[in-house]
């Protein structure tokens, strides 16, 4: 007869600290929900209002296409802001990324500063940058382009730097041994090796830029967002729906085009 093998305990023994951490996390979640999430009856009333005959959803349909030409032109402006912001951001991201790498940065202090700036640009949301640039250059697309540019330096700077860190160091060392300059090594060994990754990052940056540019108008930084805000403010919900639908078409089109190009190039 085989002897019964004792089963292991169901739960691992935990220390007091572990229990304390679990309690704190649970308390954090509960207090957060209790203080900020909508109460059930509030939700109920909100949903009822949404679907009431005079409610928001009902007024949205059918969408109002009477100003479709004007909206289309504003969409073009939005796309132009996105392209300009992404292009400028990507161009300036390259030097930031070079300075932020271990191997190519001229000095460790420069590297720390460059990394700090990239992280700062990335962490502050583009809407906040837009408000900042509206103060600097005034209302309009210029502020939006600058906000998108700074956001893209943060986004692409990080990925460009990572791609350069990961590039095979053999060719770089070989050129260094030849006596090539730092610029020579960067342009003839590092960039060619990173080209597929740079392309992918640039296309993602453009997608992100298009999505971002639509919202920037809400704070007055140009583009279709301005019209969306006006439509909401004037209770023209049917026009707002048209704008939202057209924005959706633009974003999806750019995303599709970008993934098609990525698949072709890489």
């Amino acid at each position: 007869m085989t002897q019964a093998i004792p089963a292991p305990p169901r739960f691992r023994h935990r220390t007091l600290t572990e229990y304390a951490v679990i309690l704190v996390v649970i308390a954090l979640v509960l207090t957060s929900v209790a203080n900020t999430a909508p109460s059930l009856d509030k939700l109920e009333r909100g949903v009822a209002r949404l679907f009431a005959p005079s409610g928001f959803l009902m007024q949205m349909f059918p969408p109002d296409f009477s100003r479709v030409e004007h909206i289309a032109w504003k969409l073009v402006e939005t796309l132009q802001m996105a392209v300009a912001g992404a292009a400028l951001g990507l161009i300036f991201a390259v030097p930031f990324a070079i300075l932020a790498t271990d191997r190519l940065s001229p000095h460790p202090a420069v590297k720390i500063v460059a990394r700090g700036l990239i992280a700062f640009f990335r962490t502050v949301p583009d809407l906040v940058w837009a408000i900042f640039f509206i103060i600097v250059v005034g209302l309009g697309p210029a502020a939006g382009v600058l906000a998108l540019m700074i956001d893209k330096i943060g986004f692409a700077g990080r990925f460009f730097a990572e791609a350069m860190e990961e590039a095979d160091t053999g060719p770089q060392d070989a050129l260094r041994a030849i006596g090539a300059s730092r610029m020579g090594i960067i342009f003839s060994a590092v960039f060619p090796a990173c080209l597929p990754s740079f392309t992918a990052t640039s296309l993602f940056a453009l997608e992100k830029s298009v999505r971002g540019s639509a919202a920037l108008g809400l704070v007055g930084a140009g583009g279709i967002g301005v019209d969306l805000k006006v439509a909401f403010d004037l209770f023209n919900y049917d026009e707002a729906l048209t704008i939202i639908l057209m924005m959706l078409v633009l974003v999806v089109a750019v995303e599709q085009a970008s993934s098609w190009i990525r698949a072709k190039l890489i």
Binding site: A174, G179, A189
Partner: protein, 266 residues
């Protein structure tokens, strides 16, 4: 080839000159393990010198010390009339541009054409965009790069991406890049190591022929006895970080050389 040359003697036909490389009491240790202990030898203009030794005997470290890719712990290296240890960063770059290195791995930039890779050799004496890509290079530089490709038999592959070439062809492109550099001394670290036996022999023969045609001093780390015997004028053997053999190849006894190739059982 294989002419019995004694220390101080010079390749046939040329006027007697001093050593192009003089190493005295070279020591290299990495915080504890001593890789090279008191290595001294000389190399003479136009002579092909083979450095042999089992795994871990310090051959690659010796080569790296010669162009300061790693700094020796003590000792003196005099190459091309310069005290290598005393060179500042700029002088070191200028000095390295006079030394051609062929690596174990070809270390080419994979996504660029053979011609662009060969052209990078010109960075030893030219900087800026004209030395980065073949399409931006001046006509005479492109012509010289084509001539170098022709010398390694790959002129017809000029615009082919190097990652589409075979291992042997890639190593030949690397040799063409080294020729483009117009080096005065060529160092080669097992250039046949990653190749099949036939390609390896072709690469060794090509390197040795080119060095002889141009009257270059060739210092090659070799891990195949038959290549050592066929393609060198003089052999130095390293064992335990010391030179325990220094003979003209014509007087070398292959049986006695065998111990320098024995690989320790893993």
């Amino acid at each position: 080839m294989n002419a019995p040359l004694m220390a101080g003697e010079v390749a046939a036909g040329s006027t007697p000159v001093g050593p192009v490389l003089h190493v005295r009491d070279l020591v290299k240790s990495y915080d504890g393990p001593v890789i090279l202990r008191s290595v001294s030898f000389s190399a003479y203009a136009g002579v092909s010198l083979a450095v042999i030794g089992a795994n871990g005997s310090g051959k690659s470290t010796l080569l790296k010390c010669l162009i300061r890719l790693t700094d020796p712990t003590s000792g003196q290296i005099e190459m091309l009339g310069q005290d290598v240890g005393a060179l500042g960063p700029r002088a070191l770059r200028r000095f390295r541009s006079r030394i051609g290195v062929v690596w174990q791995k070809h270390n080419l930039v994979p996504r660029l054409s053979a011609l662009s890779n060969v052209l990078h050799g010109v960075q030893a004496r030219m900087s800026g965009p004209r030395s980065w890509w073949q399409w931006a290079a001046p006509a005479e530089v492109r012509a010289e790069a084509m001539a170098c490709l022709g010398r390694v038999g790959l002129a017809d592959k000029a615009l082919q991406r190097v990652d589409s070439l075979s291992g042997g062809q890639q190593q030949r492109v690397a040799i063409a890049r080294m020729l483009m550099q117009r080096p005065e001394i060529v160092l080669a670290d097992e250039p046949d190591a990653s190749l099949d036996p036939q390609s390896g022999e072709d690469v060794m023969r090509l390197l040795s022929d080119l060095a002889r045609q141009d009257g270059l001093t060739l210092i090659v780390i070799s891990h195949r006895l038959e290549h050592t015997m066929a393609f060198s004028d003089r052999i130095i053997g390293l064992a335990g970080g010391q030179i325990t053999l220094d003979v003209p190849t014509a007087q070398a006894d292959p049986v006695k050389l065998r111990r320098f190739f024995d690989k320790p059982p893993e």
